[in-house]
C-alpha cells in the first residue's frame, strides 16, 4: 500500500514536470528591453556656454545588459519626416557633445543617468542643430544563428540664438482642398516650408466657416498634428477631414499655421458642400412628377384604354 502511494506521487510529479517543461521552453524571455527618457532632448544653447542634460536609461530585463552609447548624425529626409543616418559626423552639435559613459553594463532593473554635456564655442553661426544619441544593448554573438539586435534613438535638438519672435518663419507652399467634397469628406493637402535659421514646431489650425451665414456663430478650430520643421525643409500634411455636420453651403477653409509665439502664416480655400445624391434623387422625382402633370391627359387616356374591357 505504501509502495503504491509513493508510485502515485512519483507519477504525479513526473506528469507535472512533463506538462510544464514545454511551456517553459517555448516562453520567450525578452533579451533586450530598455526604457529611455527623454526620447526627445531639446536644448537651448548659447555661444560660449556649457550645458549638461541627463538621459536616463533603464534595463527592464532580469539579466545584466551591456550597452553602448553613440552619437550619430542624421539628415531629415522627405516631407514625411524621415531620417537618414550619416556615417560621417558633419553636425557641429556632435563635435560639441560629450557623453560621460559610452560603454557600460546595467545590472538587472538598474536605472542609470548618462550626462550629455554640450560645450558650444564662442563664435558659431546662429541656427538649428540636431543629432541622434543611440543606445544599443550588446548581445552575445553566436555565429551559427541569425542575430537580432536593437537600438533606441534619442533625438537631440538645439537652437542657438533667439529668433525674432515677429519674424516670418515659414511659407505655405501648398494648401489645397477639393472644391466639391463628396460625403462631407474634405481631402486636404498642406505643405509648409521653414524659411528661418532655426527649427520650430508648426501647428496648423483650420477654421471652416460658412460664407452664407444665417446667424453669427463662432466656428471651432480644428487642430492638425504638430510637426517639427527643420530649417529650409518642407513638411506635408495630407489627410481626409471628416466634416459630418456641414450643411449645404459655400465654405471658407482658413488655414493658420502657427510658428509659435502667436505668429501665423495663413492660406485659405473655398469649397462647396452640396448633397449630390439627395439632390439627384429629388431631381428625378421632380422630373417624374412634372412628366405626370404634363402628360396627364394622355396618360389618363392610355390608362382608360388599358383598363376598359375589350370590345
Amino acid at each position: 500500500m505504501k509502495h503504491t502511494n509513493y508510485t502515485i506521487i512519483y507519477i504525479g510529479i513526473l506528469t507535472l514536470f512533463l506538462f510544464h517543461l514545454p511551456t517553459l521552453a517555448l516562453a520567450k524571455t525578452p533579451t533586450a528591453s530598455i526604457r529611455v527618457s527623454p526620447v526627445i532632448l531639446t536644448v537651448p544653447l548659447s555661444p560660449g556656454k556649457t550645458l549638461t542634460q541627463e538621459v536616463t536609461v533603464e534595463n527592464l530585463t532580469a539579466k545584466p545588459m551591456p550597452l553602448k552609447a553613440t552619437l550619430n548624425d542624421f539628415t531629415s529626409t522627405g516631407e514625411e519626416g524621415g531620417y537618414m543616418f550619416e556615417e560621417t559626423k558633419t553636425s557641429p552639435l556632435l563635435a560639441w557633445t560629450k557623453l560621460n559613459e559610452t560603454n557600460f553594463i546595467l545590472t538587472p532593473k538598474e536605472k542609470k543617468k548618462i550626462m550629455v554635456t554640450i560645450k558650444t564655442p564662442q563664435r558659431i553661426p546662429l541656427g538649428g542643430y540636431y543629432g541622434m544619441l543611440f543606445l544599443q544593448p550588446i548581445t552575445t554573438n553566436d555565429p551559427t544563428t541569425t542575430q537580432i539586435q536593437s537600438k533606441v534613438g534619442i533625438l537631440l535638438l538645439a537652437n542657438i540664438g533667439v529668433p525674432d519672435p515677429k519674424a516670418k518663419k515659414a511659407e505655405v507652399m501648398t494648401f489645397t482642398t477639393d472644391l466639391l467634397p463628396i460625403n462631407n469628406t474634405l481631402p486636404l493637402l498642406l505643405r509648409v516650408k521653414n524659411i528661418s535659421l532655426h527649427f520650430f514646431t508648426a501647428k496648423p489650425i483650420l477654421t471652416i466657416s460658412p460664407v452664407l451665414k444665417l446667424a453669427q456663430k463662432e466656428e471651432l478650430p480644428i487642430y492638425l498634428e504638430e510637426k517639427i520643421i527643420f530649417q529650409q525643409k518642407i513638411r506635408r500634411w495630407e489627410q481626409d477631414l471628416s466634416l459630418p455636420n456641414l450643411k449645404p453651403n459655400i465654405y471658407k477653409a482658413q488655414m493658420n499655421v502657427s510658428t509659435g509665439n502667436g505668429q501665423y502664416v495663413t492660406a485659405e480655400k473655398y469649397f462647396i458642400i452640396f448633397p449630390f445624391a439627395k439632390a439627384g434623387i429629388t431631381g428625378l422625382i421632380f422630373l417624374f412628377v412634372l412628366f405626370l402633370l404634363i402628360k396627364r391627359k394622355r396618360l389618363k387616356k392610355t390608362l382608360q384604354a388599358l383598363l376598359s374591357p375589350h370590345k
Partner: protein
C-alpha cells in the same frame, strides 16, 4: 462680482460722498439725473471739477468723473480700476483647471472656468513655472506661450474649448506650471488676474523598446519542408508618450551568408510587398497601418513579403503615427520571417544580423 453689482456698489459709495458735497454747493439744474429701477441720484456734481452731461445744437458732452476719491479699493481677488469707466469690469474668472491627463511632456490641458460670464466675454491666460514669482508668460492665441500679452490673445470661452479645453503647447518637460486668467467684455472692462491654479507638472518623454529574442535559428531546409521555413518571428513591443509617435526601422547587415555563398533578399521592396513568390529571405509585419507607402500593404489580402534592405536607416516595419495624446502602452507588432531556397542551394549554416532601430517621429 457682476458688472452691474460693481457699478451699483461704486455708485452707492459715490452717492453718499456726492450728497455730502452737494449740501454746501449750488447744484446746477441740468437734464435728468441718473436712475435705474431701484436707485436714483436726485442731485450730484463732480468732486474733481468735471461736469455732467450737457448738450447744444451740434455737440453733446458726456460727463466722466476724473478720479475715484478712494483710490482703487481691492481685496484678495478683486480690484477696482480708476475712474467711472473702469468700474464696469468683467467678473474676475476663477482659477482655470490645469491637468496632464495623458502624461504629456510638452503640453498641459487647460480648461477655463467661468463666473457667470456672458458668452461674448473674452479670457486671457497667464502661465508661470514658479507660481508667478519671476516667470510670467502668457498663453498666445495659438496656445503656445510667449512673453507678451496681445489683444488677440483674448479668446472666448468657445475658442478656449469650453469644458473640453485646449492644450497649451511648447512647454518644458519635468516642469510644474501654474496658470491664472483674466476676462474682458468690450473696451475698459478688463478684469484683474484671478486666482492661480494648482501647479501641474509635465512628464518626461520616454520610450520603452523590447525585442523578444536575440537570435533566430531557421530550420534545416530540405525537401521535406520544400526548402522553406516560415516559423520564425520577432516581436517588438513599444511604449511611448512621444507626441509624434515612433517608427521601428529594420535592416540587415548583409545577406544570409555561409562562407562565400549567400541567399538573396526577397525581391519585393518594403514600399510594395507581394505574396510570396520565388526565393530568398524576406519578412512580413502585422502592422496594418504602416508608414512608407499604402498603410496596410503588408496585411491586405494575406501576408505580403518584402526583402530586407542593408542600407541605413532601414525600412519601416512597425510604427505608430502621431498625434499621441494618450501614452502608447506595450504596443506589439510581429515580424514574421520567411526563407525559401531551391534544392541546388549549397549546404551550410547561413546567418546574418537583423537590426531593429526605434526612433521618435518628429
Amino acid at each position: 462680482m457682476s458688472k452691474n453689482n460693481a457699478y451699483y456698489k461704486a455708485l452707492g459709495r459715490k452717492t453718499s460722498v456726492l450728497v455730502i458735497i452737494g449740501l454746501g454747493l449750488t447744484v446746477p439744474a441740468y437734464a435728468s439725473t441718473p436712475s435705474s429701477t431701484n436707485y436714483k441720484l436726485p442731485e450730484y456734481t463732480f468732486g474733481s471739477g468735471g461736469t455732467n452731461n450737457s448738450t447744444s445744437t451740434n455737440f453733446r458732452l458726456k460727463g466722466v468723473a476724473g478720479e475715484v476719491e478712494f483710490g482703487r479699493p481691492s481685496s484678495t481677488n478683486y480690484k477696482l480700476g480708476s475712474g467711472l469707466t473702469y468700474l464696469n469690469k468683467s467678473n474676475v474668472p476663477p482659477a482655470p483647471t490645469l491637468s496632464n491627463p495623458s502624461t504629456n511632456y510638452d503640453r498641459l490641458k487647460l480648461v477655463i472656468n467661468t463666473n457667470n460670464h456672458p458668452t461674448d466675454t473674452e479670457f486671457a491666460v497667464a502661465i508661470s513655472s514658479d507660481n508667478f514669482v519671476s516667470d510670467v508668460r502668457y498663453v498666445k492665441s495659438d496656445n503656445t506661450i510667449g512673453t507678451t500679452l496681445s489683444t488677440t490673445d483674448f479668446k472666448t470661452y468657445t475658442s478656449w474649448g469650453t469644458t473640453t479645453g485646449v492644450y497649451i503647447t511648447g512647454l518644458q518637460r519635468n516642469t510644474t506650471y501654474y496658470v491664472k486668467a483674466k476676462a474682458r467684455q468690450g473696451s475698459f472692462t478688463e478684469s484683474e488676474w484671478g486666482p492661480t491654479s494648482t501647479g501641474i507638472p509635465t512628464s518626461d518623454a520616454s520610450l520603452t523598446f523590447t525585442v523578444d529574442s536575440s537570435s533566430i535559428a531557421f530550420n534545416n531546409l530540405n525537401s521535406s519542408n520544400s526548402y522553406t521555413d516560415t516559423s520564425k518571428s520577432t516581436t517588438v513591443t513599444t511604449s511611448t508618450n512621444a507626441y509624434n509617435g515612433y517608427v521601428v526601422n529594420a535592416r540587415t547587415t548583409g545577406l544570409l551568408t555561409s562562407g562565400s555563398t549567400t541567399i538573396a533578399a526577397y525581391t519585393s521592396p518594403n514600399s510594395a510587398p507581394t505574396s510570396w513568390s520565388g526565393l530568398g529571405f524576406g519578412y512580413t509585419t502585422t502592422d496594418s497601418d504602416l508608414t512608407g507607402g499604402t498603410n496596410n500593404r503588408f496585411t491586405n489580402g494575406g501576408a505580403k513579403y518584402a526583402g530586407f534592405t542593408t542600407s541605413s536607416p532601414g525600412d519601416p516595419v512597425a510604427d505608430h503615427a502621431g498625434p499621441i495624446l494618450s501614452t502608447i502602452s506595450n504596443e506589439q507588432f510581429t515580424i514574421n520571417y520567411r526563407v525559401t531556397v531551391n534544392s541546388t542551394q549549397k549546404a551550410g549554416r547561413y546567418n546574418t544580423t537583423v537590426l531593429y532601430v526605434v526612433v521618435p517621429s518628429y
